[in-house]
Symmetry: D2
Subunit: 315 residues, 4 copies
């Protein structure tokens, strides 16, 4: 019980916005988790893996630290490469899952797409950039089947306002039947960066996103269903440190240095937490880790996403 509290604390330090990661780190090896249903599917010819995590009830929420709802994750190495054909195929796949989410959300006839994040910080610019190529139709005379509006609200350091407030005001005023939020996410592992897209029916929670949103963007707060579409582009620097500790004990162990491995392995969770805390505080807290070619990744992914959204709304 005590340990669970510590673990939660550590989990927060090394926060992940990805349900697949949360589920992995919560799994105890048996593969069973109460209140969570997981299904994985591989599309070999596309090099694509789709994981569907359903958090069914409170037990599931506690187990993986994510609210009740559906989380669909697409992983494909091809997202990292410039390949027009491959990119279009990914957009097509993505559009199918967006449609499923929209269906679940009551097939809204008007959707506000929100490009969250800071345009001026490359890994956080995914949301704003995705809006650049979106087909906006709400103002056109010839009505599309679904009317699309879009907004790039900026971040608090730029506006002085909670992003959630800005979106709430616009939703109140313009009355879309659903909101689709595109955002850059923080993953737990660098291996997820640039090759993963997550769709969720639960919106945005406080503390999520690269910029750590302080308030939620959810059906509860906005009054209409909120679908979140996110791509991990950074890892908290603190997570790297925590990984090093993990890696260290494994390496020592593998090297047969059992007693030495014990030095780390034998530490209680509390001790480990203390160590991480001391190692990272206060220097690494506000730091993040991101790939050197993040500009290319954000360019490719934001285009795949905007095309996917465009396709989802085509007749």
């Amino acid at each position: 019980m005590e340990e669970r509290g510590q673990e939660a604390f550590i989990q927060q330090q090394v926060h992940t916005d990805l349900a697949v990661e949360a589920q992995e780190s919560a799994a105890d090896g048996s593969g069973e988790m109460p209140g969570v249903r997981i299904r994985e599917q591989e599309y070999r010819e596309l090099g694509l893996t789709m994981t569907r995590v359903e958090v069914l009830d409170e037990r599931g929420e506690k187990a993986i630290g994510k609210p009740k709802g559906l989380y669909i994750t697409l992983e494909a190495e091809s997202m990292r490469e410039e390949d027009e054909e491959g990119g279009r195929e990914l957009s097509r796949q993505l559009s199918l899952y967006i449609k499923e989410m929209l269906e679940q959300a009551g097939a809204p006839r008007s959707v506000l797409v929100v490009g969250l994040g800071n345009q001026e910080v490359t890994p956080d610019s995914l949301g704003p950039r995705a809006l650049d190529n979106l087909r906006i139709t709400r103002h056109l005379k010839e009505k599309a089947s679904v009317s699309i509006s879009g907004i790039v609200p900026g971040v608090m350091a730029q506006t002085g306002m909670e992003t959630a407030q800005i979106i709430h005001g616009i939703v109140e005023e313009t009355g879309p039947e659903a909101v689709l939020v595109v955002d850059a996410l923080a993953a737990r592992s660098v291996s997820r960066l640039g090759n993963t897209i997550q769709l969720s029916s639960t919106g945005i929670q406080p503390g999520s996103g690269v910029g750590n949103h302080r308030h939620s963007l959810t059906e509860e707060s906005l009054g209409v269903p909120v679908i979140a579409l996110g791509v991990p582009t950074v890892v908290a620097a603190a997570a790297i440190v925590y990984d090093t500790l993990d890696g260290l004990s494994e390496l020592l162990e593998a090297a047969g240095a059992a007693s030495q491995a014990d030095a780390v392995e034998g530490m209680t969770l509390e001790e480990r937490y203390q160590m991480v805390k001391e190692l990272i505080e206060p220097r690494l807290g506000p730091m993040f880790v991101t790939p050197g070619n993040i500009d290319e990744q954000v360019k490719l992914l934001s285009f795949i996403i905007s095309e996917g959204i465009n396709m989802a709304f085509e007749e």
Copy 2:
């Protein structure tokens, strides 16, 4: 009477957002205009001219086609040149008039600054760029004497929504006591481009701005006082054509070709309007005229403005 209607029509074709221009073209030579009070002041050492146009009542509104309120225009050739000292002095002057407007607006303790216009079109990017260097304070713990928030709402082609709706929603939600709108304007004459700043107590009217805002941003529509700060960066291409006709008759006359000048001079206003309409429709309607170095002008002016606003809110 009839003629006045035609003139109004032409005036609309060759719309100006500047009260000083509206007043000039409305003046009948006697210098007197009922319902309008004008005062001009020169600051020789600063190379600055300040014109204060007060529209006092409905007669004034009719005469110059601008709503009741105070319009302050600053003109200085030095706005066009990169000169750090000169720029700072202009910001200081501007800050005094912003303060006066704020005072008139009830000395608000919280102000939302709106950067209107299209970031992607250089002459229309003045508003968004001015927001870049603004000192935003609403979210800081140490409260400034006036709390400043800021938003760049985009334009309808990007958002699908009326800008006025977006602003209205944000005002409702975050409750500023006043709104300050920064916008790029359309002038009537190219000689005003890049050397003029207009402050007005009346907000933004439909049809004004480079992008021709469709709805108003005024105290009436937003529920709080709205101060507008604008800089002319374009002239409608149609205005150039109209000017050519004017210039033509003057030239012919000057050349002693009286009978030929009559050809144009002798036309009734209706005939002239028809001619302009045929010449410009449909090709020149959506075209604007702007200087080749508009990037430098917008950079300089947006910086002067953001510094001016920053100074106005300093203690």
Copy 3:
């Protein structure tokens, strides 16, 4: 003879970078022009018109004011609309003509693509933007059949250097076998803006481009063949004035006001030139006319162009 000099002068005032326009204004009605071969082709299903102007010798150079060489112009209204399929088809067509030009230039195995123009001024940003989506391959280990490098040299106000010097230095150092220059052009008529692409085998001449390049980028100056790919995005404000005068006499004539029409019609070319000069000097000289939605046009066209270039270099 005298008149021809005047006409040349006027033509310079109302300069066009487009060979099709130069040829139209030079044509005397008979359709024959010594030293110039013209072929027009329509692709109905694509809504595309292709005009091939070959300037064969000095007589042709004099007649249309463009140097000896091949000029291919593509015109399609569809360039102005966002249509993924249509855009791809245009890129495909464009790639065929780029291939023809490359073939003529000796089938170079390495090409330096230059994105001329000012990134900060929307209508002049076409060249730099086209480079954004180009597939650069010169640095890759797996060699493409043609090695592509690219540069955005900026403009003189930003660098202090002649763009021609920068390119010359880079060509000397990196030794490409040909240069392909992408640039925004000045047209004579607003009806050409946003729907025209011109390819030429003659490179860039002094005085051409939105920013009026001062030196040439040609095979003579760079030592390797130079292909120029340009899109008209502005019209000189002076050209609008000249058009107004033309339109005025036509209108007056049409209205049966023969004697009045004479007032303008009857003027000698010299008189007309004087009038234009006085009307436009010094206010309109550095001004240009551009559409309100120039951001969308440049976005669409730069994408069509970069895709066209990419296709031309694919195996």
Copy 4:
């Protein structure tokens, strides 16, 4: 001897572009280092520390891994805060040291300023951004005392060319008497990010900069003196891992867990290197660590730098 080789290897893994860091990690505690002269000076009222590292000969080059020359480092916490007055004072100080470097470089009458780095990746955009506010004078008729030109060459992934080649070509063609290179650097410690400026008389070495330049920009390669002005904006992710190992042994030791500390402490350098290599390969190699508010830091610092350069060239 053997160990020194290993250490060099590790040092490369955890490369620093900063001479002050290289000197710190090379120092053996005695404070003496052959071939290196160090002087530190504090300007209390400015909150500024200046460190002057002179590498005098080969012994010094070996000791700190930096070529012979002068390295001046300015550190001030105030660089991280928006403070107009403070920023101007820092620019003034910086300009004095730039002047000293220029004096040493033979008081050149023409200088090419190069903004190295990738505009699209926030921490690497410092060089290009610094060029934005530079006063370029080479093309003006009224000659400044020193003629300034500037170029933003892009990075290899964008151009396909070595940046060093591009600069070499431009230098050959335009003949400046010196080159001043502005670049974002990689530091060894996150505590240096955003508060440090380094000036060096030795230009840019292969492997330095955020983007790891492959070739040098030095007097030897360009034929004219090269002054480098750099600001650390990232730390290699691998360096964080290495720090964690260091921190781990210290923590264990401090906790009195002597035997456990031995587990890490007792490892040979080779073992440590192997561990780091395995921990970081291949995942962390291309990753970097950067602050969440890197956009604000780059904005502030690039402005301080461009003002500093402008002041250095004023009469």
